[in-house]
């Protein structure tokens, strides 16, 4: 079942959901914000990749992102799955075209303008006519676990700086590390952390492990968090 879920509608059904701890976003948008529609729940597809004899499982989330602001904005999406055992799995941007084509073929009627995740990144012009239809794809993750969350970053310009409670003024803020022969400075003792307004979509997958293979995860929270 495809459920196109406009975000604004979803928020109306959240009154019974626990409030997030930690810093919260502003009650009303204070800067630009994209409209984000997605097909829930994430789908599973098995594809035999070149050179493999067995299929590989991928999970994907189809979405449409629309710039409702008056100016062209950059769309730098960041999709992350946080599993029940707190493993963070990034969206696979450099996905094999075979996988994308298989997804596109499946949804060609409902998402005729679906573009590859790597091509979705960049300028997003204003208005529904310029909306982007794309897909976030994950591999190496099993979304049939009992609970998981999807975080979508890049949808809002709202940020917040929070003080690092462990900041030590007597230690350097960065450290040089050797990355493939290049010296790179990494933050090891930042004064502050930057949090960004991020969409959180929580799923519950009720039932036993065996039963979950045949059922779909149920979305039970969609909300903004500062992450």
């Amino acid at each position: 079942m495809n459920i196109v879920a406009p975000l604004l509608l979803l928020f109306s059904a959240q009154s019974a959901i626990e409030e997030p701890a930690g810093p919260r976003p502003a009650a009303f948008p204070i800067t630009w914000e994209f409209r984000f529609d997605f097909v829930s729940p994430p789908r599973r597809i098995d594809v035999i990749l070149p050179g493999d004899s067995a299929p590989t499982t991928f999970w994907y989330l189809l979405y449409t992102v629309t710039n409702t602001d008056a100016r062209t904005r950059k769309w730098y999406p960041r999709f992350q799955v946080v599993t029940d055992d707190l493993r963070v799995v990034e969206m696979d941007v450099g996905i094999n075209p075979l996988v994308f084509n298989a997804i596109k073929q499946l949804h060609t009627r409902t998402f005729p303008d679906l573009i590859h995740p790597s091509k979705a990144i960049g300028n997003l012009r204003t208005g529904a006519d310029n909306a982007i239809e794309s897909v976030a794809i994950w591999r190496d993750v099993d979304l049939s676990s009992s609970r998981f969350k999807i975080y979508v970053g890049g949808l809002s310009g709202e940020t917040m700086l929070v003080t690092n409670p462990a900041f030590d003024p007597e230690k350097p803020e960065t450290r040089e590390i050797d990355r493939q022969g290049r010296s790179v400075a990494v933050e090891v003792n930042p004064k502050r952390f930057t949090l960004r307004k991020t969409l959180e979509i929580r799923y519950n997958h009720p039932g036993s492990a065996a039963g979950r293979a045949a059922s779909e995860p149920v979305r039970y929270v969609t909300r903004w968090v500062m992450r």
Binding site: A21, G22, V82, L86, V88, I177, R179, V225
Partner: protein, 814 residues
């Protein structure tokens, strides 16, 4: 708050303090437990007084709250609890306004300061869990780190964590996480300390003992709670049994005591020393019913005690029968002395059924003193050793001539000393207890050899080094070689995997100047030669990594810190190369992506081989394999995991940390040079004594190499040792240094003197060319001291060509 119960140092904690009792009651609804209940009462009273604007009553209640030892975090939780309950929410606001306006008394102001501080801790806790749950591990880590840096109140942290069951899930899920794992492990330790404090809470235990008299459901619930209190429950249960006022509880306590099961055993067996026969019989029954073999020595001791009444003795027999019915082979334990020794052996080999909970930092050792059970906390890593020593002491009480027990005590004491974590102390030992070597020396060679045999068998560098050090100063030649059972532990130590142990054993043996061949004597010279190469303290490492780039980076870091490094893409090939080029290894680095065997197989292989068993193994976690690699590293105290990105300090710190924890002797530059000098000296003395047992020529190459170092003392000693190696290959290098104008005069004179010794001992082995050079030197050298030294060498060589005549003739003045 724990306090010192009797004089002495350290963390001596007596159960007696529990009897004084601090308020404790777990109310799951409020998450208020332990002292918190009392604190809540004072806080509530104070807030009510604030509402009533009764500043005097408020000040008194705040004072009582301070006396009850409220922590910042606990104070913040109390305030939050008041706000949640609603009735006193306004009072909290009023309290804060009073604080801001300076309207509070001293006590109130102190509480206000605690609240401010505690709210920061509470925010760190809250944010730590929140950011961990949404996958912002960097922010979560910073919050937990900050919190841990403030030594938070463990019971308050536990209360916060248990408010939401997902928080335990966060802790267990992230325990090995590369970013946050360390602070999560710190948080888990705090939570465990909180649990321990709650479990040991005397008021809670007392309440549950009294609830045992209730209906069956209450009884069962009380037993569950007492079981959760574990070893802390029996001391108070015994106290109730001995109290005539509590006689109506006797039946239920006797029924409940065995249900606490194994955790009750350690205090119970110690309590069997009590003189109260009636209570003791209850305890004997409980010990029998619990059904563990470790109780057997204590029961046997009671049976053998002349002062034990026939009634008690009969009860002991019954308990032993119950144990036998439960599958314990009581007859195999022999008498009390043998049984305690057997128990000591079990502790020494870290028998799992006796080990303390390794997840906890401390474990309890129980004593029966002044008619009550007392516990002394010891760091968990030394629990087995302390218990082993106690069992040995008991064995010796029953049989003062039990030599194996004394030898085992020495070994356990040396191991205890090595395993005692830094910045901790063993409060079971009195002040001025003395070092492990002190006891080993006092015991004499026979016992040291017994302990050494055990160390050699179990590959324990720290114990071996302690025994060898004691033997060095106490043993004669004969006693160095054979222990009472006819084994040769010191000679066997020449093949010990740890280089420092080998070298120390070789030096001790050689200094004993043995006259007869002994097993493994063929290894003495190679080990002394190895010692000669230690000048400067070079360490050796093997890096096994299929990726050249990361292998070279790790190797470079090691080389920069004085390591000689062998690199190989495969373990077995690397070990083969290392065997050919390195006498020993000080560290092995394994890439997590190695194949045939893979990293887990490689670890298993290395740990199974005697010669590598005590070498630190560092796992180099590659991208995508960090979590699995860290899990593997946590499986043994001889493993650690680092990443390629970690700086050189991390790698070396981990090697040193493991080496220290296993008692491996790290050879610094100073120690290496000192050992090399000692080796050269002992080789010279073996030559001087003309000991035919050892072929000194086997150390020739190492001695020649020592001549090329920049340590004058070593060079001179090496030259003198070479003087007893009768070959041109030994004499020519000494002569070369003597003739070298670039060398300082002292060294050159010493070299000529060494040649003189060689001449006397071995006669001339120099080439004609060198002899000609020597004659010319004696004739023409203008510096008189050098010339005289050369002349001594020339004379001692006793050449047939009569060079003296040539020299006299050359100086003929007419």
């Amino acid at each position: 708050m724990r306090s010192t119960a009797w004089t002495g140092t350290g963390r001596r904690v007596a159960i007696a303090i529990f009897l004084a009792g601090t308020a404790a009651h777990a109310t799951a609804q409020d998450f208020l437990s332990g002292k918190a209940e009392t604190q809540w009462e004072h806080w509530r009273t104070a807030l009510q007084a604030i509402l009533d604007r009764d500043s005097e009553a408020a000040e008194t209640a705040f004072g009582e709250l301070l006396t009850a030892g409220t922590s910042p975090l606990r104070t913040a939780l109390l305030a939050e609890h008041a706000v949640r309950r609603g009735q006193l929410a306004g009072a909290v606001l009023l309290f804060e306004q009073d604080a801001a306006n300076g309207a509070l008394g001293d006590n109130g102001q102190q509480i206000a300061d605690l609240l401010t501080n505690g709210r920061e801790r509470l925010n760190e806790l809250d944010d730590g869990f929140w950011f961990a749950s949404i996958g912002r591990f960097d922010v979560a880590n910073a919050n937990f780190e900050a919190l841990l840096g403030h030594s938070p109140d463990p019971v308050a942290v536990l209360a916060f964590v248990d408010r939401d069951k997902r928080r335990r899930h966060v802790l267990s899920s992230l325990v090995s996480h590369p970013v946050i794992g360390q602070s999560i492990r710190g948080m888990i330790r705090v939570v465990e300390r909180g649990e321990l404090a709650l479990a040991a809470d005397p008021r809670r235990i007392r309440e549950n003992i009294e609830r045992l008299a209730g209906p069956p459901r209450v009884y069962n619930d009380a037993v569950v709670n007492l079981r959760a209190s574990g070893e802390f429950a029996p001391p108070l249960m015994i106290q109730y049994l001995q109290d005539p006022q509590e006689r109506e509880l006797t039946r239920v306590i006797v029924r409940a005591l065995p249900q606490i099961d194994r955790p009750a055993l350690n205090p119970l067996v110690v309590a069997l020393r009590m003189k109260d026969d009636t209570t003791n019989q209850y305890l004997i029954d409980a010990v029998g019913q619990i059904g563990y073999a470790q109780a057997v020595p204590y029961l046997l001791a009671l049976r053998e005690d002349q002062e034990t009444s026939s009634q008690v003795r009969s009860r002991v027999d019954q308990a032993l029968s119950v144990l036998a019915q439960n599958g314990v082979s009581v007859s195999a334990w022999g008498g009390a002395a043998d049984a305690f020794f057997r128990l000591a052996e079990m502790y020494y080999r870290n028998d799992e059924s006796l080990m303390a909970d390794t997840r906890k930092d401390v474990a309890n050792v129980w004593y029966w003193r002044d008619g009550i059970l007392q516990n002394i906390e010891v760091p968990t890593p030394i629990f087995d050793e302390v218990m082993c020593m106690r069992a040995c002491e008991e064995s010796l009480r029953h049989n003062p001539d039990n030599k194996p027990a004394l030898a085992l005590w020495l070994a356990a004491n040396l191991r205890r000393e090595a395993q005692l974590p830094a910045d901790t102390e063993d409060a079971t030992r009195p002040e001025n207890f003395g070092s492990g070597v002190y006891y080993a020396q006092s015991a004499g060679p026979e016992y040291c050899l017994g302990a050494l045999a055990r160390a050699v068998e179990r590959v324990e560098p720290a114990v071996a080094l302690g025994c060898i050090e004691a033997l060095r100063s106490t043993a004669g030649t004969e006693s160095l070689l054979t222990d009472a059972s006819g084994t040769l532990p010191l000679a066997e130590a020449l093949s010990f995997p740890d280089r420092l142990v080998r070298v120390r054993a070789a030096l001790t043996l050689a200094n004993g100047n043995p006259k007869q061949a002994f097993a493994n004597s063929q290894n003495l010279m190679p080990v002394l030669a190895e010692a000669l190469q230690l000048s400067g303290g070079a360490q050796r490492a093997l890096v096994v990594d299929p990726d050249d780039e990361s292998a070279n980076r790790v190797a470079d870091r090691l080389r920069e810190n004085g390591y000689v490094v062998q690199i190989s893409p495969n373990l077995n090939e690397g070990l083969r190369q290392a065997r050919e080029t390195m006498p020993t290894l000080d560290a092995i680095v394994l890439g997590s992506d190695i194949q045939s065997p893979n990293v887990a197989g490689a670890v298993s292989q290395l740990q199974g081989e005697f010669q590598f068993a005590s070498i630190p193994i560092i796992l180099l976690a590659k991208e995508g394999q960090q979590v699995d690699t860290r899990r593997l590293a946590e499986s043994s105290d001889r493993l650690a995991a680092v990443t390629v990105e970690d700086g050189p300090g991390v790698l070396l710190d981990e090697i040193n940390r493991i080496a220290e924890s296993i008692g491996k002797g790290m050879i610094t530059a100073e120690l290496g040079t000192d050992l090399a000098i000692q080796a050269a000296q002992v080789l010279r003395e073996l030559g001087d004594r003309d000991n035919p047992l050892f072929d000194r020529s086997r150390a020739r190459e190492a001695l020649v190499a020592a001549l090329k170092t920049d340590v004058a003392e070593l060079r001179i000693m090496a030259a003198e040792a070479l003087a007893y190696v009768c070959s041109a290959e030994a004499q020519e290098p000494v002569a070369a240094v003597a003739f070298d104008d670039a060398e300082n005069e002292t060294i050159r004179i010493a070299m000529f003197d060494a040649l003189a010794i060689a001449g006397k001992h071995c006669k001339n082995q120099l080439s004609d060319e060198t002899i000609t050079k020597l004659v010319s030197f004696v004739k023409d050298q203008p510096a008189s001291e050098l010339r005289e030294a050369a002349s001594r060498a020339l004379g001692a060589l006793n050449l047939p060509s009569n060079p003296a005549s040539e020299i006299i003739r050359s100086r003929y003045q007419g």
